[in-house]
């Protein structure tokens, strides 16, 4: 049994949508962060699928870079969130409005 490219793309699209609306609608920074990661993973999934169906390695190459960068990003991002919590006592974005003033 083979799975068509469209199925992969639909899953990738759904994942991206979940991540996107999560960013738009949630308030917890950690959840936002996970949603960002979800969107990133949606694109990686799409790239892998393209690579597989084209029979070329370009997509896979991208994915390796993305994973590396994402790992570094998560390390920095989570550290920032931890620091944020230590300083401000909260990670809710609606309370983090210091830029307003």
């Amino acid at each position: 049994m083979t799975i068509s490219l469209n199925a992969f793309l639909i899953v990738a699209g759904l994942l991206f949508a979940i991540g996107f609306f999560g960013v738009l609608l949630r308030y917890n920074t950690l959840v936002l962060y996970m949603c960002l990661e979800l969107m990133l993973n949606a694109t990686t999934l799409a790239l892998v699928a393209f690579s597989r169906f084209n029979g070329t390695p370009d997509g896979n190459t991208f994915v390796f870079f993305i994973i590396t960068v994402a790992a570094a990003e998560v390390a920095v991002g989570l550290a920032i969130i931890v620091q944020l919590y230590r300083r401000r006592g909260t990670v809710q974005v609606d309370e983090l409005t210091a830029l307003k003033d």
């Binding site: 960013v23 738009l24 609608l25 936002l32 974005v93 609606d94 983090l96 409005t97 210091a98 830029l99 307003k100 003033d101």
Partner: protein, 630 residues
């Protein structure tokens, strides 16, 4: 002080008092009351200066300053204090002062005394403005101000829904009349290019200016509203929701008489047809109100309908006398200032102010004595318990029914004599009305003061204090002597000479007629009404009683139907069109602006989600540019 500064001080004194009360004394009730009464005393003193002062006798005081210039239209504020104004001034100042004193007693325990006395001061200011004004615009300004202060004071017991409704009704009904008045003033300015009374008089005597009948009738609309003439009479009985001194001051002695005063001010603008219409409206009001008064239970409502009826008399008198002059213009020289009609109307206005203020204050004393019971069928037997009130009230009743040689006798006979000379139909109706007046006044008087006490409140009635009885006594004296020409000409000057007076056999005839009216109306009422807890007329002839009640309610029902069923629906249709077409367009454009505003705001409020939307918008924009869509 020059006469002009005296007049100015007279006008500004109550305004100052009202301002001080409104700004500083709203919680200092007794101080506010004292200030307002002092201001009223000051007004009375200054008015006495103007009226009786040797240097002012027979003089007309004028003075004016420019207020506004709008293109060709210049609005001026100024004084014209002639004999007519002095007469009205004496009524407003002296009766007003006595009522202020009475209010000290009547409103003694009131929780909002400061507001009440502040309102009285505002009213005095507005009323004096009408009296002293030298042009129609200024009259109109103060005309609205008295309407406003009347609204304030009717609504004094503002926790009562009926009082709130009554004040709104009074204000709105007055607006109907005032609209016509304003149109009349604009017309007047358009035709004569001036609204100054002295200049208008001069223009009129030069001749050659034809006046349309509609002009005086439009001006008369103002009087119809303010003096509660047929068919705008509905507000006055409801206005009795206000405190009793207010009813005495505004709704009996002064403000409702302002309409008649205004008519006399513009008497030179009259035409024959207009005067006919005015006369018949006055006659209709007099007769209608007298019929309604017969079935009232509330002591103040009886007096309110009686006031309406007497105002009708004055308007009819004005019409009758004016007619005489207009139909034989050569008989009077144009330089004769006052005519029979104006003189007879103002004479009755003055005596009416005395005895009706007395009757209202008397009823206030009765109400206060009976612990705020107003139903005459729950009173009774008060003559022993409240002797001062009883005797003064009796004098008031005697004056209004025209007992010979009291003030009401002279003024009412002047009107009846005028009617007798000119129009027999009017004479017949007015005589019948006089009989009815005697009938309902004696009915009220007997049921209120005689027999046994018919309720707990009237059993424990007590005479009221000195601040209330003293004004009653003074007003009673004025009601007795106010009609004698010696007294009247002192305050009215040249005016008194124009009052029509019967001589010789006609004099005897009028005297007999007056006695006949009194005996017939009063006698029938005295015999017919029993001092019981029920209305004798309702018991013996329910049909007649029901008919009169229906007649009384007719206009309220008619207006209620019109407002609820016709006007309201029409207004709803208009409101719909307004919502969609007129207000809809600006509302939609405003909404667009508002959207831009909230979008731009998102950039600055520090909301992460706002930034995400903007990011999205930016990405879409970039995409659109990249694909060549933009």
């Amino acid at each position: 002080m020059t006469p002009v500064t005296t007049t100015l001080a007279l006008l500004l004194l109550p305004l100052a008092s009202a301002a001080v009360i409104a700004l500083f004394l709203r919680r200092r009730h007794n101080l506010a009351a004292a200030l307002s009464v002092l201001a009223a005393a000051g007004i009375a003193a200054l008015a006495a200066c103007l009226i009786f002062g040797a240097e002012n006798r027979g003089q007309t005081i004028t003075g004016s300053l420019e207020w506004l210039t709008l293109g060709p239209l210049t609005l001026k504020l100024g004084f014209l204090v002639d004999d007519l104004a002095k007469l009205m001034l004496s009524v407003v100042a002296f009766v007003g002062f006595l009522i202020h004193v009475f209010s000290l007693g009547y409103m003694h325990d009131d929780a909002a005394k400061a507001r009440f006395f502040g309102g009285l001061s505002v009213f005095m200011f507005s009323m004096l403005g009408i009296v002293l004004a030298d042009n129609l615009f200024m009259i109109f300004i103060f005309w609205e101000l008295v309407g406003f202060s009347s609204y304030l004071l009717i609504n004094h017991y503002n926790q009562k829904q009926s009082a709130a409704d009554a004040s709104k009704k009074a204000f709105i009904v007055n607006r109907v009349g005032d609209f016509g008045f304003l149109l009349g003033i604009i017309w007047c300015w358009w035709q004569f290019k001036t609204v100054n009374l002295a200049e208008l008089t001069a223009l009129r005597w030069q001749g050659g200016t034809a006046i349309s009948t509609a002009l005086p009738l439009l001006l008369f609309c103002g009087a119809v509203g303010k003096s509660a003439q047929f068919p705008l009479q509905v507000w006055l009985p409801d206005a009795m929701e206000g405190p009793t001194p207010v009813s005495a001051l505004i709704h009996a002695a002064t403000m409702v008489a302002a309409g008649i005063y205004m008519l006399c001010r513009i008497n030179f603008l009259m035409t024959v047809d207009a005067v006919q219409a005015i006369m018949w409206i006055g006659v209709a009001t007099a007769a209608y109100a007298a019929l309604c008064a017969v079935v009232q239970r509330d002591i103040k409502k009886v007096l309110a309908y009686s006031t309406l009826s007497q105002l009708g008399y004055m308007v009819a008198a004005f019409g009758l006398g004016q007619l005489v002059w207009l139909e034989w213009p050569q008989a009077d020289t144009p330089h004769q200032l006052w005519f029979w009609g104006a003189a007879a109307a103002m004479f009755h206005l003055t005596t009416h102010a005395f005895f009706k203020a007395l009757l209202f204050l008397g009823s206030g004393s009765v109400i206060a004595g009976c612990h705020h019971e107003q139903d005459i069928f729950k009173m009774g037997g008060l003559w022993k318990k409240m002797p001062v009130t009883f005797w003064t009230f009796t004098i008031g009743v005697a004056a209004i029914v025209g007992l010979p040689f009291l003030s009401g006798f002279f003024s009412k006979d002047a009107i009846l004599y005028l009617a007798f000379l000119n129009n027999k139909a009017v004479f017949g109706i007015l005589t019948a009305t006089a009989v009815l007046t005697a009938f309902y006044m004696v009915r009220m008087w007997k049921i209120t003061f005689f027999g046994e006490a018919r309720s707990h409140e009237s059993e424990h009635a007590h005479e009221t204090g000195l601040t209330m009885t003293l004004p009653l006594i003074v007003l009673a004296i004025l009601s007795v002597v106010g009609g004698y020409s010696g007294i009247f000409s002192k305050i009215a000057g040249s005016f008194a000479e124009a009052v029509p007076e019967a001589h010789g056999s006609a004099h005897t005839g009028m005297l007999l007629l007056s006695c006949g009216i009194l005996l017939l109306g009063g006698g029938v009422a005295w015999v017919f009404y029993k001092t019981e807890a029920t209305d004798s007329l309702a018991a013996k002839s329910p049909a007649a009683f029901g008919l009169l009640v229906k007649l009384q309610e007719l206009f309220d029902r008619l207006y209620g139907y019109y407002v609820a069923k016709v006007q309201q629906r029409f207004a709803l249709v208009l409101d719909f069109f307004d919502f969609i077409f007129v207000a809809g367009v600006p509302r939609f454009t405003a909404q667009i602006t508002s959207w831009f505003g909230s979008g731009a705001r998102l950039l600055h409020v520090g909301s992460l989600h706002g930034y995400v939307y903007w990011f999205l918008f930016g990405a879409a924009l970039c995409w659109a540019i990249a694909t060549g869509l933009l």
